[in-house]
């Protein structure tokens, strides 16, 4: 028995899924897609039911990854029953998707969720009437209060029915559908897709294309527009029949503050700044515990084993890699994810995107790009993964270059540990200033050079709501798992290699080979090149290695202020860390991964040499 949850984003699907399945949820990539689906098993009356939470979508006809995935799921995998989740407060728009789902003629039950919020807004929904119109069971629920959630599965198991309604399309469209059905022998649903230029049947698309052109000339409107209009009009007439609205009470709308330029923009800065600050404070505190634990309880016993030097070297490298991974992942990345998921679940990030839209345009991007940028302050790896929300290759490329420059939490550790501690707090801020100027210059140059057209932002701003802490934690946990999955193996492999290099003296050779650059161009001590090399592995390791190689934690006593400043800025820019390069390669291909690395290497060297020349 397989049951899938389907609905608009923000209709409360995840919360219902969570309440139905409880623990024991599995997350798997859907075959052939980058999107992960949540699967959960439930036992009901001795029957095992597999529950799938499909990604939130607005339509089944589009080309976005989510829409293609859900379409494929409905066509290929099918489901014994669909649970269609509608948002009662936005019923008309949600019915639009339902009209499309109905065309798949799968057994289903309809859940009208958030009925409590709708009632508080003076909206009353006649679910019995809705059930008659659609010919399926309709259940009003309030997932936040847990109301009627226990009735969903029994209803889906006992009374799932294929809906009986059909959207009355424009008569030209209907004629085209009939003629395609006759000539090509394809079902109505596929013909509708083909008329809009999508679907995987090329022959069908071709013959539909010529009919579509004819219809478009007659209507002076695209077929997609006609079909969407027909569906919306149908949804409107249904909504008019089932929604009774009593005069709405005037309520205070938080958006009257948040989306205005003032005080919206200061609030945006305040929120982002406090997010980053709290991540830094909490992260540093947690990191000191993790690193302290390793150096006190794990490394000494391992050293006491008295293994063969080579084995000891390798084992030590693995342990250090784990220390590095855990030391950055949980304190900084996880804390950051908690804050970010919280913000996302309130719906605030779309307000941020709206406010940032104009400034982002100047950088060749648009409002939604603020999300990868903000994530980049936590860690570049998830930031690159989130580039998927940008629709065009051009935007992804520009944003990828910028993300590799954004000071992530590991780089903040370097700035704090080297510059703020030994040179001065003002100088630490000057590094941020330099990086921001570089980001802006890079963006302006990139937006000129990168081919492709710029598209704007079209984003629904969901109602602001109180996040559910358990959902926030779960989302952060899934994300940190993904992070560890990418970063950990790489950290361990790189660490072992570096350990072996050290063991066989390769590092010393590298150091002397790099000496002309390190010593004469950058004005740094010879061993700094090794520290920089380790920085590729994990940024703040540059700082720690430097302390080890110079033989003292008091870096101020062995290097001048200019040297420390140069070292910090070079190690921050320099090549992005190995995990970032890997995820760039995975997400955007080898070319972008190499280009961004080469670019940041060039920038790091350039700025380092400039500082060395200017300040000496």
């Amino acid at each position: 028995m397989k049951i899938a949850l389907i609905g608009n984003p923000g209709a409360g699907k995840s919360l219902i899924f969570n309440q139905l399945t409880g623990l024991g949820v599995e997350v798997n990539k859907y075959p052939g897609s980058a999107i992960e689906l949540e699967y959960g098993n439930v036992c009901y009356k001795n029957e095992k039911i597999e529950l799938v939470d499909l990604p939130g979508i607005y339509s089944l006809d589009g080309d976005s990854e989510e829409e293609v995935l859900v379409r494929r799921f409905l066509e290929k995998d099918g489901a014994d029953s669909l649970i269609v989740v509608l948002d009662a407060t936005k019923l008309e728009r949600n019915l639009y998707l339902l009209t499309q789902i109905a065309e798949y003629s799968l057994p289903m039950v309809v859940v009208v969720n958030m009925i409590d919020i709708a009632e508080s807004q003076g909206l009353f929904i006649d679910t019995a009437r809705l059930a008659t119109i659609f010919g399926t069971e309709v259940l009003p629920t309030a997932a936040i209060l847990g109301k009627n959630i226990d009735r969903i599965l029994p209803l889906a198991l006992s009374s799932s029915q294929s809906p009986v309604l059909g959207v009355p399309y424009d008569h030209h469209i209907e004629a085209a559908l009939r003629s395609l059905e006759k000539t090509m022998g394809t079902p109505r649903r596929k013909n509708l897709l083909a008329l809009q230029g999508t679907g995987d049947d090329a022959a069908l698309r071709d013959s539909a294309g010529s009919i579509a052109t004819e219809i478009e000339q007659r209507h002076q409107m695209s077929v997609g527009q006609i079909i969407a209009t027909n569906r919306h009009n149908f949804a409107r007439s249904v909504a008019a029949e089932v929604v009774k609205q009593s005069p709405e009470k005037k309520r205070f709308d938080l958006d009257s503050i948040l989306t205005r330029a003032f005080p919206g923009i200061p609030i945006l800065f305040l929120i982002l700044f406090s997010l980053l600050l709290s991540v830094f404070v909490i992260g540093s505190w947690m990191e000191s515990w993790i690193v302290g634990g390793f150096t006190e309880f794990i490394l000494p016993p391992f050293a006491a084993l008295g293994l063969h030097p080579l084995a000891e070297r390798i084992g030590y490298s693995v342990l250090v890699a784990m220390e590095a991974g855990l030391g950055i992942a949980f304190p900084f990345v996880f804390t950051f994810y908690l804050g970010l998921s919280f913000l996302e679940d309130t719906g605030y990030m779309t307000r941020a995107a709206f406010l940032a839209d104009r400034s982002m345009h100047r950088l060749g991007l648009h409002g939604e790009a603020i999300i990868p940028m903000v994530i980049g302050f936590g860690c570049a790896v998830p930031a690159v993964m989130s580039l998927r929300i940008l629709k065009t290759r051009r935007e992804q490329t520009i944003a990828a270059f910028l993300i590799t420059l954004v000071p992530c939490s590991a780089r903040t550790v370097v700035v704090a540990g080297i510059v703020a501690a030994f040179v001065g707090i003002i100088w630490a801020f000057s590094i941020y200033l330099i990086i921001f100027i570089l980001i802006i210059i890079t963006a302006i140059v990139m937006s000129r050079l990168t081919p492709g057209e710029q598209f704007g932002m079209i984003v629904e701003m969901p109602s602001l709501r109180k996040p559910r802490i358990q959902l926030v934690i779960r989302k952060s946990w899934l994300r940190i798992k993904e992070f560890l999955f990418i970063a950990m193996p790489l950290l361990i492999v790189t660490s072992v290699f570096l350990g072996l290099f050290q063991y066989f003296g390769v590092i010393d050779i590298f150091q002397s080979l790099a000496a002309p650059i390190t010593v004469s161009l950058l004005g740094l001590p010879e061993y700094a090149s090794t520290a920089l090399l380790f920085g590729i592995f994990r940024k703040e390791l540059a700082f720690e290695t430097l302390a080890v190689l110079s033989g003292t934690a008091d870096l101020g006593s062995v290097m001048t202020g200019v040297q420390l400043y140069t070292f910090a800025i070079v190690s921050i820019l320099f090549i992005p860390c190995i995990s970032t390069v890997a995820v760039l390669y995975k997400q955007l291909g080898a070319k972008i991964a190499i280009l961004t690395s080469a670019y940041s290497l060039f920038l790091g060297m350039l700025i380092g040499v400039l500082i060395n020349i200017l300040m000496k």
């Binding site: 607005y58 339509s59 006809d61 589009g62 080309d63 976005s64 407060t89 936005k90 019923l91 008309e92 728009r93 639009y96 230029g197 579509a212 052109t213 478009e216 000339q217 002076q220 409107m221 695209s222 997609g224 527009q225 969407a228 209009t229 919306h232 009009n233 409107r236 958006d255 989306t259 205005r260 330029a261 779309t350 995107a353 709206f354 406010l355 839209d357 104009r358 345009h361 648009h366 409002g367 057209e453 710029q454 598209f455 704007g456 932002m457 079209i458 984003v459 629904e460 701003m461």
Partner: protein
Amino acid sequence: MRTSLREDYLEAILIHTGRYSHPPSAQDLSEALHIDKDEVSAHLRELADGGDLRLRDDGRIMLTDQGTATGKQIIKKHETLQSFLSEILGMDRSSASDEACRIEHAVSDETIDRLGDYLRSPVIQPPAGEPAHSCLRGHQGQSSCGYAQSLVDYEEGQRLIVRDILGRGCSKRLLDLGVVPGQLVVIKRKLRNGSIVVQVKDCDVALSPENASAICVERIP
């Protein structure tokens, strides 16, 4: 200067600015109106003295508020007349346009208003020579509501009916969110830079300025 000549200039400047998204130079106007370049310069100085426009340092010509208002009025007259001549009387579009060019200077505001009422077509016609609805295949990328008004021309709180969606606005997402011809939308927020939040079917949708300007709308009286 003759009134009709002044109006021709203002109209040409507006159309050029709309079409190429930068103001014209004297050279552009000379080509558009088939008038000698030296004469154009003289005319432009006269118009500038009259407060209709101002010459920018880079040689491009910007209309003042007064000039824009007059120009828009003329364009509206032109469009109404042309629609009437071609759609109701059945003249071909280009001779209808030529004819409209001559009548537009003499016709009164009232006649135009009444003609407009008479026509009241559900779809606002774009300027001559441009693809009618750029949502059609092969016309992606165009984006200007022609002589009609777009979302960005209105202020917060305005209730509007969507009439047409052009070029870049033709994204599937916009259609799916309910921005289709005939739909009622309310402007909930408009930032000074042109970013807009509209309420469509009880949902708030945030739009970049370029998307908002591709959505042609009509005010609800």
